[in-house]
Amino acid sequence: MEEKSVKDQSTLRVCWQLFVITFTLSASTFGGGFVIISMMKQKLVTKLQWLGEAEMLDMTAIAQSSPGALGVNIAIVVGYRIKKVWGALVCTIGAVLPPLIVISVISVFYNEFKDNTYIAIALQVMRAGVAAVIFDVVIDLAKSIIKTKSVLWILMMVIAFAATCFFKVSAIIIILVCGMIGIVHTTWENKEVKS
């Protein structure tokens, strides 16, 4: 039932599902925007098949090229892609509501929250689960890049990884450089076809 294509379902139904998805993901995301992206990929690409894997990566690039929080930006692009402006609006509200509620409650009970040992331990150990979720998605994505059998893309992936992880190169520079390489590569291919 859930695997039905988006086009066969009413806008209201799809929007409600989008809201539920972004709300639950945003509420359970400790550790930043990439965790949301990993979980969205799992839900929308692998499970519901509303989006393709390549599309999901394109959208991640769009979310990263815009200012603001990655987790909110990815919700906006995905919402727009699936149900235009209404989808974007619904997804944004879904993504923002959980932190809004949680922080409002905590700002009232801050002292009790800060000093609670159980909460501190739970938040520390939960990071292991979050890391596992990201690795699961990374394995799938890296496999799809390796499957292209293009030395250029595989090499770019390895270098970009080293640059961000070990040399702290900023995301904007990586996006600009890789986008340029992409353009040059396509123009080169076109020329070869013509000659």
Partner: protein, 193 residues
């Protein structure tokens, strides 16, 4: 009037925070602590701690927190709205361009080039989180004596469940929190006895 000021301050934070996460922190500090004196520095440090301990992006969390402190729930709503409005407009324009022009060859070239980069950046985020989970430190200050066995075990089990049985990620995250806390408490009990 205060609402307008709050809206404008967070609109700027939303507009200029490229790179996400901690990139926004100095920007928020300059607006909230130094510019408008809405929070003391110690309150700001508390705010960052809360933001780290709870779900949601730091910019949205601080917008809600500052808004709450100054003007209650309406304040929180105004600040949060101001903070996400710039992203909303810019992301919509970029998405529209993407849908319209994605079949163009040049656009295809850019997108194909970006895919390996995006995978690499997600992987990098995963590695720093894993290091934080296993050693409670950043990648460059790892010491083998800090290695945490419980977290390492949890990570392996979770990854196995996800790969082998396609387990639900949300259950995995909360499950790891619950099981890990129980293990920690059990370990503490054993050490005391």
């Amino acid at each position: 009037m205060i609402y307008l000021e709050m809206f404008w301050a967070f609109f700027q934070i939303g507009l200029f925070s490229f790179g996400g996460g901690y990139a926004a922190v100095p920007l928020i500090q300059s607006q909230i602590v130094e510019g408008h004196h809405w929070l003391e520095m110690s309150q700001f440090a508390d705010l960052i701690t809360i933001a780290e301990m709870t779900p949601g992006p730091i910019a949205v969390n601080s917008a809600t927190f500052v808004g709450q402190q100054i003007a209650g729930m309406p304040g929180a709503l105004v600040c949060t709205f101001g903070c996400i409005l710039p992203s909303f407009i810019i992301v919509l324009i970029l998405s529209w361009l993407y849908m319209k022009y994605r079949s163009l060859r040049t656009m295809q070239g850019v997108l194909t080039g970006l895919r390996p980069a995006v995978v690499a950046m997600i992987a990098s985020a995963g590695v720093s989180l894993l290091v934080l989970a296993l050693f409670n430190s950043s990648l460059f200050s790892v010491q083998s004596s800090d290695f945490r066995v419980i977290e390492a075990g949890l990570f392996v089990v979770c990854l196995f469940l996800l790969r082998r049985f396609k387990a639900n990620p949300i259950l995995i995250i909360f499950g790891s929190g619950l099981v890990g806390t129980l293990f920690y408490l059990a370990a503490q009990k054993l050490l005391i006895i």
